[in-house]
Symmetry: C2
Subunit: 325 residues, 2 copies
């Protein structure tokens, strides 16, 4: 099966009207009146962003989810995406079907379409890139740069599960050994993070600044702080952990170090956002409606950077999050 | 220098208003009223699409040009792009500056902006991907699928120079040795193909179908033929070669085979398009105005596929163009 057959057999059925059945070398997008477009792009490299050899549905699924998470943080809803795949040379063609099925699952779940892209191969690791196009009502995109002094700082879901899932996915034993249920929970968090798209209207209405947590809670807090010209003051004991992650954490010899690992590891794909204290009730109510856990984890202050206070002391970090080089 | 410094130092100055100074994790695009958007995406892999070790301006420059060529074929003008770079691990930071300078050169030449993207690194070859957003007046995108029986088939510029330039770039001797001027011409064609953006209005007005020639003249002719449900009948002696390529061709022992190589090698980034015979004068005049060579190379017929006639015989092809796997 060559690249054209791959596209015709597996990708064309995923394309919508704008994708022109992938028979053209470009996609056509007719913007809706009264809307701005939000564009995001995320690349995943085998061995860096996903485990070696995971050429199938897992990787397709996650690629779309991490991009959708970016859109969710901006208050946008997804329209479609452009996909680029660099297959490892000599790839077993049975992976094609699984990869396409992974794309289909996420498209069906969140209702958007494949618009076009590019397929090639190389001697190196697999590399996949998606560029997503989302929509917001004109002027309503939620920016990183809008956080204001005295705003509350909020986090959706829980932090650190994906890191523990990654250890498990890489075959590294966690000490002590978590229950089978906890392991499943961690791996789900790693492989299938839930993009918080249902929360987008609440963000548009109430959030002053937002980002998704991909580089790590501390690093992404720092990104908003920097873009907004403020300081993020977080309280350690308010950072939300799942009961499974909490159980693991409480059994670590050096709990402080383990805590730091979880809040800097990244891959959570939860949202961190700021909002005026006047919106607490609305935010809690909206989150409850969609069954989403939200936690107030701190307050925006004057200054710069991120401070995490724990028992009245301020924690310091050697590494604030993942950097690629 | 880590990825955030790289972005702040070298990429942020390339970003326009929509790129939000690259301080956000998404880009904001405010579509113009009365316009459709055209999206294209091209990936280049070190060792496949560009010579090993070319981590600097050459590769940045070409990445943008090949995408602009796609937009040109659709009659679109460029607005901006999302960029993804996978650097080889441990890359010498001096390449960053050159890469950014290459982007700058092309942005300045064609007037569009960086919107956002993603930067990472891997143990494998360098991989770069750009997703371009272009604009056309509503309903005027030129499709692959519009070619009609009896239309003329046109090609811009000349064919095969980029293939000869690639041989030279890879250090493969051409026989007989071309002049220094011819070699320079071939390498320019390979490294810096000229996207035919100035021809976009003419295409929108007169072309029934179009594509850019990236996979090879025969393969891209076949793509339009297939999408349009017609046969492309090309005349070998009308296919335009530069005088340098023509000189090389005429000295080959097996001129037929060498001809086939040039028309299937790809990387030309010229345009192939179809138009009603009634528009010959307008097309020639418009091309002359912008100093662009255009050649009528055949006629659209009933049936399917591509036929090239030479001295009254039909040439057959083992390979119609480059496929990646």
């Amino acid at each position: 099966m060559n690249e054209f057959d791959f596209i015709a057999t597996y990708l064309a059925p995923l394309a919508g009207a704008g994708g022109l059945n992938l028979k053209d070398d470009a996609a056509l997008l007719k913007p809706s009146a009264g809307k701005d477009l939000v564009l995001t792009k995320d690349t995943m490299v085998e061995g860096v962003h996903f485990p070696p050899g995971h050429f199938g549905g897992d990787t397709a699924d996650k690629l779309l989810r991490v991009n959708l998470s970016d859109l969710a943080a901006k208050g946008a809803h997804p329209i479609g995406y452009m996909l680029s795949i660099v297959w490892p040379k000599g790839i077993d063609g049975t992976y094609f079907k699984g990869f396409a099925a992974g794309l289909r699952d996420v498209q069906d779940a969140y209702n958007f379409e494949l618009l076009g892209g590019d397929t090639t191969s190389s001697e190196g690791p697999m590399v996949v890139t998606a560029t997503f196009i989302g929509e917001v009502p004109k002027g309503e995109m939620v920016l990183r740069s809008g956080a204001k002094v005295a705003d509350d700082i909020w986090v959706t879901g829980t932090i650190g599960d994906a890191y523990l899932g990654l250890q498990s996915a890489l075959g590294r034993a966690l000490e002590p050994q978590p229950s089978a249920e906890a392991l499943w929970h961690f791996e789900e968090a790693y492989y299938r993070p839930e993009p918080r798209l249902l929360f987008r209207k609440t963000l548009r209405k109430h959030a002053s600044g937002a980002a998704d947590i991909s580089d790590g809670l501390v690093a992404d807090a720092a990104h908003i702080a920097k873009a907004s010209g403020v300081c993020f003051i977080l309280e350690a004991d308010k950072i939300p952990f799942s009961s499974a992650a909490g159980a693991w954490l409480s059994k670590q010899r050096d709990e402080d170090e383990a805590f730091k690992t979880l809040v800097t590891a990244g891959d959570d794909y939860e949202l961190i956002f700021t909002a005026s204290a006047g919106f607490r009730q609305e935010i809690n109510r909206a989150a409850k409606t969609i069954g989403l856990r939200v936690s107030r984890v701190g307050t925006v202050g004057q200054g710069e950077g991120v401070r995490i206070s724990s028992d009245g002391k301020v924690m310091t970090f050697q590494n604030t999050g993942y950097t690629h080089f």
